[in-house]
């Protein structure tokens, strides 16, 4: 706060005003988050409460998630989500990094056409192909039973190669001179990839791993369409959405809030630890 007291009065007022304004904005942005945390500890049931702050606090809503399996089995949902997330994040990270590296650092004839195709695919509504995948999976008889997990992994990871942009942006910033020098020394392109570029690319690999791991925790659309009524294979997102159904909302609303808090914590940590790469990828920051 050095020098603040030296400012003339009108400037002081301006600065204090600005901070108050920022505090007000932050409040608007934080209210829903605060509210859901409060609700997860609320003692009274039901989705409506006549006060903003709960009248009594309890841990029962969290307990209910892990003990009451009459309608929803939260541990099972967590297990499904983790399983799908881990497998699909490994596959899609391989896909994304392979595509991004190839399009960024190798030059070959169909490179531009491939990039244009990816752009065109992006113009179709995302879940248009998903609906078709759903028919196909239904025809294969995978919409019930354990094959549903395979279906979900396939759908999350299968088309991942199209989302190469951020990783490509990263590879674009590594100077080509590195590759050229290595090739002059007789390295093959494979050696350039594994010995030179990959060790430099740990941040973007970690970023891709973490974001694709978070995918199944955040997506609810796809899992909902695929699972339909098969409660045993719900991911957390679908399960939580279902808790707000008219039938269950009265009994489960506060547990919904509790579940939301539980999965938001890891996802938030994942995001906050990767946001740097996200920003760099989008804004095309150049490393010196």
């Amino acid at each position: 706060m050095s020098g603040f007291h030296k400012y003339p009065l009108h400037k002081k007022v301006k600065i204090v005003g600005a901070h108050i304004f920022l505090a007000f904005l932050s409040m608007i942005w934080l209210i829903p988050i605060v509210w859901v945390i409060l609700t997860s500890f609320r003692g009274t049931k039901g989705s409506y409460s006549s006060t903003f702050f709960p009248t009594s606090y309890t841990l029962d809503n969290y307990k209910k998630l892990f003990t009451d399996f009459s309608v929803f089995s939260f541990p099972k949902m967590l297990f499904n989500t983790f399983l799908v997330a881990i497998v699909s994040c490994l596959i899609s990270t391989f896909f994304v990094i392979a595509v991004a590296y190839t399009l960024s650092r190798l030059r070959f004839r169909i490179r531009k056409p491939l990039m244009n195709t990816a752009m065109i695919i992006h113009l179709f509504p995302g879940f248009m192909s998903m609906i078709a995948v759903y028919y196909i999976i239904k025809m294969l008889g995978w919409t019930a039973g354990p094959m549903l997990r395979v279906a979900m992994i396939a759908v999350y990871a299968g088309g991942a190669g199209c989302g190469y942009h951020i990783a490509k942006g990263f590879f674009d910033t590594i100077p080509m001179a590195l590759d050229e020098a290595a090739m002059l020394d007789g390295a093959s392109k494979w050696q350039v990839l594994t010995k030179i570029i990959m060790p430099l690319s740990r941040p973007v690999v970690v970023y891709t791993l973490l974001t694709s791991f978070a995918g199944p925790f955040k997506d609810f659309m796809l899992a909902k369409v695929l699972c339909g009524p098969n409660r045993d294979y719900y991911t957390v997102a679908v399960g939580l959405y279902q808790m707000l159904d008219v039938e269950y909302i009265d009994q489960w609303f506060c547990s919904f809030a509790a579940g939301a808090v539980i999965i938001s914590i890891p996802v938030a940590i994942l995001f906050l630890s990767t946001q740097k790469y996200y920003v760099e990828g989008v804004s095309g920051a150049v490393k010196g």
Binding site: M1, I28, W35, F52, F95, I121, I136, A160, G161, S188
Partner: protein, 456 residues
């Protein structure tokens, strides 16, 4: 650039192979891999041949049958047959058009692969022929494999990802697009057996008279307004917030940014569902307003029940969702604006408004144009914000789409909820057409085709 041209110049094309190739080379178009087999690349030739035999067997066994069925999409209805022995009616399966359509498309895809193989077999044979004529060495298997990790590394790396995209994105897209030309719909109960109807669905959708057309045009209009307002409101508000926090008198910048960024960190479906609950007639917001005495004790603001309120609500919610993203990105870019620009502007006596409109804004526009187009596309297809909050409501009684429904959410309702699969597919295609037009125009006029190699 010169080296590149040189590399591409030595190129064996299938057409050259047919024009100038030897008899053996030309035979390779019919017997895949013939050139390789004779030329000494035994394993490669055998691989080609095996794939060809496989395709032939498939075509004879199922392929031609599937293609034949694709023309009519099946016409045998499910039949009830009286079984005397058990004295019950038994059902005999008829044709199922959806399966016929899928198998037909897969067969077409296999045929397409066959054509690609003809080309590649020709090229390989011609390459071997040319190498032999030049007296050069024909690469053996070991060299070919090691080339896959050097000059042909792109093939090795792209094979699986592209396979995945083909199987899980492109094939399903084609499958869905082809439904747009059928009458696969709950209408007239065409859910098992359906036929090709050509452009009928497109005509129905864009005609102003029909009930579908009367829904389509308003929904398209709202989708475009929504996408424009959502994109630009986020852009400008995010930019202003970023500049505001960047102001040198603001203390604890990191803390303020963290408050906003926290909302991105939490899964969207969670925050959106929470906001929806808060904005219900008996939700937290109305209760707060009642407690503060801003509305009557029994009154509630019609956030999702009045058309205009609902539209404003979803746009405000989208600002809540989107501004932190902008803040995050703009903060990164602002630090990259060359400081000399601001220095010289200050020397020339430019005030903050002039610096903003003449330096910050144009620079941001240039850098962020591609991003803005992506955001616009994302907003046209912004399923979550609408579906999880207003759910497209309020909905007029005689319509399948509500006042806040976008094309995507309408597509969802028509297909998943109401089984109008053909119309759904048409809407998907129309969304694509709209987006393609918008992106082409913006790219043409913005002139900001960022040179991807500019910084190397």
């Amino acid at each position: 650039m010169k080296t590149k041209k040189k590399k591409y110049a030595k190129n064996y094309t299938a057409i050259d192979a047919l024009k100038k190739g030897s008899l053996l080379t030309r035979i390779s178009a019919i017997v895949f891999g013939a050139g390789c087999l004779v030329g000494g690349q035994l394993v490669k030739g055998l691989l080609y041949l095996t794939v060809e035999v496989g395709i032939f067997l498939y075509m004879i066994q199922n392929g031609f049958y599937n293609l034949g069925k694709l023309i009519t999409l099946g016409d045998i209805e499910q039949q009830k047959v009286w079984n005397d022995a058990k004295s019950v009616y038994e059902y005999v399966d008829g044709d199922r058009s959806l399966i016929i359509l899928l198998y037909g498309i897969i067969t077409l895809a296999i045929l397409f692969v066959a054509i690609l193989l003809v080309r590649s077999s020709l090229k390989q044979a011609y390459k071997i022929q040319c190498l032999k004529e030049e007296g050069s060495h024909v690469p053996n298997l070991k060299e070919e494999v090691s080339e896959l990790f050097n000059g042909n590394l792109h093939i090795t790396l792209l094979a699986l990802p592209i396979g995945g995209v083909l199987a899980f994105t492109i094939l399903p897209l084609i499958f869905m697009i082809s439904m747009a030309f059928t009458n696969y719909s709950v209408e007239n109960s065409k859910l098992v057996l359906f036929d090709w109807v050509g452009l009928e669905n497109f005509k129905r959708l864009i005609s102003f008279g029909g009930s579908l057309g009367q829904t389509f045009w308003p929904v398209l209009g709202w989708t475009l307004i929504w996408a424009l307002v959502a994109t630009f409101s986020n852009y400008f508000l995010g930019l202003m917030l970023a500049l505001f926090i960047n102001w040198k008198e603001i203390r604890a910048k990191k803390m303020w940014r963290f408050f906003f960024v926290l909302t991105i960190a939490i899964p969207h479906f969670v925050t959106l569902l929470i906001i929806r609950t808060m904005l219900q007639p008996e939700g937290a917001v109305n209760i707060m307003l009642r407690n503060l005495g801003m509305i009557g004790a029994k009154e509630s603001l019609p956030f999702f029940t009045n058309a205009t309120w609902a539209r404003v609500s979803v746009i405000l919610i989208n600002i809540w969702v989107g501004v932190p993203y902008m803040l995050l990105q703009v903060t990164g870019i602002l630090q990259n604006i060359p400081q000399e620009l601001y220095e010289s502007a200050r020397v020339d006596g430019a005030g903050p408004v002039v610096t903003f409109t003449k330096i910050t804004l144009p620079y941001m526009m240039f850098i962020m144009m591609p991003y803005l187009i992506t955001t616009f596309t994302g907003n046209v297809n912004n399923f979550n914000v609408i579906f999880l909050t207003s759910q497209g409501l309020p909905r007029p009684v005689d319509s399948t789409a509500g006042k806040t429904d976008l094309l995507v959410t309408w597509l969802y309702k028509l297909t998943i909820e109401n089984q109008y699969y053909n119309v759904g597919a048409v809407i998907g295609i129309m969304t694509f057409v709209t987006l393609a037009i918008v992106s082409l125009i913006t790219f043409k006029f913005s002139g900001s085709n960022k040179n991807e190699e500019a910084f190397r």
